[in-house]
């Protein structure tokens, strides 16, 4: 028999669903806005339209229902965009691998009771979560790493920005994340000690215990941490912008490029035709120029797509129970 809901329960549910709905709209709206804006036709966004849910009809309607792919055309034929995009792919791919590589090694070591000074090491790690050194110190740290790289490569450390590829600096210097290491450490600690002992008796070396037992058994957490690393690399722009600055534009990730684009070609949200009448676009997009806002959103959409595509593939590893049944709980 179905239980009758009490009034208080009903009110609670209505309120909860109401806030959930608002939260969902807040989450989804930026996506809709970006997609709608990127497909809006030339000039459609300049008339003060601030709420965009569907593509805005303007003059250059190429799709026939008010939408235009012109912004994407622009993006796909823009070399700078592709360079930035490939830089982001590079930093994300190698950054994730590098971060995972030593996070796993570090987390494995920290998860072992037999490591000397275990509490001290763990404290050092957690300390960085409580107290950050601040922007200046971190900046100095990154640029000093650049100097070290240059010195290792046999070049003048003071000229590191011109002599070494900043992409590698971003990959290596920013690879550490205490939270992710702790996540991995806790997962490794959760693998029963007997499993490691069984592997040792079976003849596994320390490295084999890690690679053949711990890593496969912790796949779910490793996939999660990989996603965290990947997303932070993909979206990260602050340090790339600060450390690489204008002297290494060829190493910019797409986010830094986008920011630069927004600063150069628009007044943040509402671009005016006059702003880019003066630049090269005129030759390509006509004397009136081309609305930069759809272009900016086309870049945004392009930069979000890989994450959206990869997410479902990673998500299957989130499923619990990879390690179920190995030991009696």
């Amino acid at each position: 028999m179905k239980r009758r809901m009490e009034i208080s329960e009903l009110i609670f549910k209505i309120v909860a669903y109401f806030f959930l709905l608002i939260f969902a709209v807040l989450c989804v709206y930026p996506f809709l806005y970006a997609i709608g804006a990127s497909l809006s036709s030339d000039g459609a966004l300049t008339g003060g339209n601030s709420i965009v849910l569907i593509p805005m009809v303007g003059e250059g309607d190429t799709l026939g229902f008010g939408a235009s792919l012109k912004a994407y055309e622009w993006a796909f034929t823009n070399t700078e965009f592709w360079v930035a995009y490939s830089n982001t792919l590079f930093m994300t791919f190698f950054g994730t691998i590098w971060s995972l590589f030593y996070s796993i090694l570090g987390a494995y070591a920290l998860s072992k009771k037999r490591i000397m000074g275990r509490r001290g090491w763990n404290f050092f790690l957690v300390f960085t979560m409580w107290f950050s050194a601040g922007v200046i110190a971190t900046y100095n740290n990154y640029t000093s790493t650049g100097r070290v790289f240059a010195a290792i490569a046999g070049m003048d450390p003071d000229q590191w920005l011109t002599s070494i590829d900043g992409k590698w600096l971003i990959v290596i210097a920013m690879g550490m994340n205490a939270t992710n290491i702790i996540l991995l450490r806790n997962t490794f600690e959760g693998v029963p000690a007997e499993i490691e002992e069984a592997a040792r008796i079976d003849g596994a070396t320390e490295m084999q215990v890690l690679t053949k037992v711990y890593i496969p058994m912790s796949k779910a957490t490793i996939a999660t941490v990989a996603l965290f690393f990947g997303i932070s690399r993909w979206n990260g722009y602050f340090w790339a912008m600060k450390v690489l600055g204008t002297s290494q534009e060829y190493s910019w990730p797409v986010q830094v490029y986008l920011r630069d684009f927004l600063e150069t070609y628009t007044t943040i949200i509402k671009p005016t035709v006059e702003e880019y009448d003066a630049n090269d676009w005129e030759a390509i997009y006509g004397s009136k120029g081309f609305d930069a806002t759809p272009c900016a959103y086309a870049i945004v959409v392009c930069s979000v797509i890989p994450i959206l595509v990869i997410y479902p593939f990673i998500q299957k590893y989130f499923a619990k129970g990879v390690n179920m049944g190995g030991v009696k709980e």
């Binding site: 002992e197 079976d202 003849g203 058994m217 129970g321 049944g325 009696k328």
Partner: protein, 355 residues
Amino acid sequence: MPEVNLRHIDKIYDGGVQAVYDFDMDIHDGEFIVLVGPSGCGKSTTLRMVAGLEDITKGQLVIDGKDCTRMPPKDRDIAMVFQNYALYGHMTIYENMAFSLTLRKENKEVIHRKVMAAAEILDLKTQLNKKPRQLSGGQRQRVAMGRAIVRNPKLFLFDEPLSNLDAQLRGSMRRELMLLHKKLNATIMYVTHDQTEALTLADRIVCMSMGHVQQIGKPIELYENPANTFVATFIGLPPMNMFEGSISGGKFVGEDFEYPLTAEQKQLLKDYEGREVILGVRPENVTRDGSIPFRVDNNENLGMNTLVHGKVNGKKTVVCKFAEWCHYKYGDEISIGFEPDRMHFFDKETTKAIR
């Protein structure tokens, strides 16, 4: 020639706690040794020292003539089965069993042959492509044994392998283990706190308490001639009835009753005249033709025998095991006695058996 020698082994943990004191024994080729004792008695620690999972603080471990005291586990040529199975959850049963051989880079054909042979022995052939989580507890423990068997080690170590199984499965697995031991003619060290396992499986039992070896011997020796009061009460279910008292004028004088001694017992206890001793009698050695007043508390009819719980002179609780179905009620008064050649005497001071 002895296969495994444990020579005066001590284990002291970093915090200063001593878990094992002077463990000294030789294990012969093909012998099934069971270490038994209550929790915290040092039996698992001893096994783990043999496995190389714990350092040996003092003493020496020799396996097949080789000093293994400081050797890493993988070089000791041993295999271990854990209480919680310790299977690799991400691998199939086949991969679990083949893991040690794969690490040794053994030829694939050889691996296949050995895994199939072990699967045949353990009746796991149809389960090889499954993951551990798809198997029952008993099957998982068989996989753990299979993993040990494929290695063909010099010594098998079992750390309470049946403790996680239900009673029925435990019984059948116990019988399988006996058969396995016969088939493989393996040398086995087996840790349990279950005396049934110890009595049924062992060629020799090592009974431990508080880190000390209390007695090493064949199951029947421990049962019939316990070395001290600990072994006497630990081995046997229900435990041996113990009565404190003294020897006086050819009689055992307890707190609640007096009992005449036979000529043989008098001879045995001639040095104990006037001294305190402990008399031990197993429940099945209590008879109903004596002179000790006994009041029944309750009956436990088990089919082939009956456990009768009650009190002697209204104080001391005693358990009797009679070989037939009994119908006593609470408060029934009977007289009990002891089978004279089955009475055990222990020195009260040292708790050791008087022999």
